[in-house]
Symmetry: C2
Amino acid sequence: MKPLHNMRAGVFDSGVGGLSVVKSLLESGLFSEIIYFGDTARVPYGVKDKNTIIRYSLEALEFFKNFDIDIMIAACNSVSAYAIDELQKNSNFPVTGVIHPGVLAVKNKLQDTNSSILILGTKATIKSQKYKFFLEENGFLNSFSIAPSLFVPVVEEGLFSGEVLQSVMKHYFKDIKSDPDAIILGCTHFPLISDAIGKYFPNSTLIHSGDAVVEYLQNEYNLDKKFDKTDMKFFASENPDGLKRVAYEWLNLEKI
Amino acid sequence: MKPLHNMRAGVFDSGVGGLSVVKSLLESGLFSEIIYFGDTARVPYGVKDKNTIIRYSLEALEFFKNFDIDIMIAACNSVSAYAIDELQKNSNFPVTGVIHPGVLAVKNKLQDTNSSILILGTKATIKSQKYKFFLEENGFLNSFSIAPSLFVPVVEEGLFSGEVLQSVMKHYFKDIKSDPDAIILGCTHFPLISDAIGKYFPNSTLIHSGDAVVEYLQNEYNLDKKFDKTDMKFFASENPDGLKRVAYEWLNLEKI
């Protein structure tokens, strides 16, 4: 793949969750500008079917064509699972999701292909089996998947710790007998409860999409950490002010 | 308002939840035919803003104009809270929501206007203050509201009892010192956990939208229980087969 000629990224997510990927991108200094589009009017994608996810993703692509972006990053795992090929086919800039980078991060961190890997994601992401497929392509045959559907609403309710989160984790994790070697946080919301998941499985390595994407972009496109400051532009299909409020908080941005 | 001339209802909901209202309508025998449209591609509405809810509702109205319906019933509380006036303005058949009927059901069941009333609903419904407003119009000044956002995903996960539901109820209800006289189940999903809510508040009268709508239609339009059988047609903006599967289960329908 040819190297990028300049440093403007379009980041697409179904809602605000993709800001957890933006956070890593901002810290990385790889881009001079990031244009974020959250499809907040139609969030969540994780319960929708393949054709709907592809259709919505192609609409987002049309939006990004209004800007001179160098790369489009689908921060949403459900988009990454179903729409990357379609997005790539219909654009003249590279498009990357978070699944391939996530699997490469597992490979870099664990080496031993006998490692046990727990994939956490939305129903749509898990159903696609894309993580499992890429892991197997890289020799990791010992993976298993859970779609903890209540994690997203629990995070959106701000319950990053406490009794509700504990009972929800217990509900989904009750059959797991020992800590997996790695846990893929395969949904943009899950990094917000990574502390609680890490305490539940103290011996597991957690894989974060944002960090994985930064590592991937550095390796794949030879990008350097050369920008001290990244300009941010935020767009949303509904309530852009709400998105900006969350962004200021999560990303510690100055008021735009 | 003029009485209905025939007995075909269009029932609109953001997803499958409105089937809990259809269940009551089927048992009532008020209609010869019910046409159900669930906007499953864009569910849930309860987190969307007013203008989006109105826009989506008017699109559903256009859909129903393809059928010769006599009345449109918005089973979704968020639609009932924001879009009834717009729907009524743009149609030549009557449109009813579930909020006004719900408040009339409170009035019929409690009489005493000093009764304490807990309104449960989505964020959008509670924010609209429509239940509170109609209750006050009917003399009930002692109401309070909670938006237990996790109830919908907990119901969609099928957790109608057990530890997760208990911890979630405790989270939202922990500050309530004594059983309210009535609890309005102001979201189509909540009747599915009415047993658990009833056990949590054993001295409260629960108000169910479906039963309230049936009572309202009988009183407002002098409708009789005269149809032994109601034909059902199901439409969905995504995955209509999924909607039909849920419908067969919830409504004990023969395969269509």
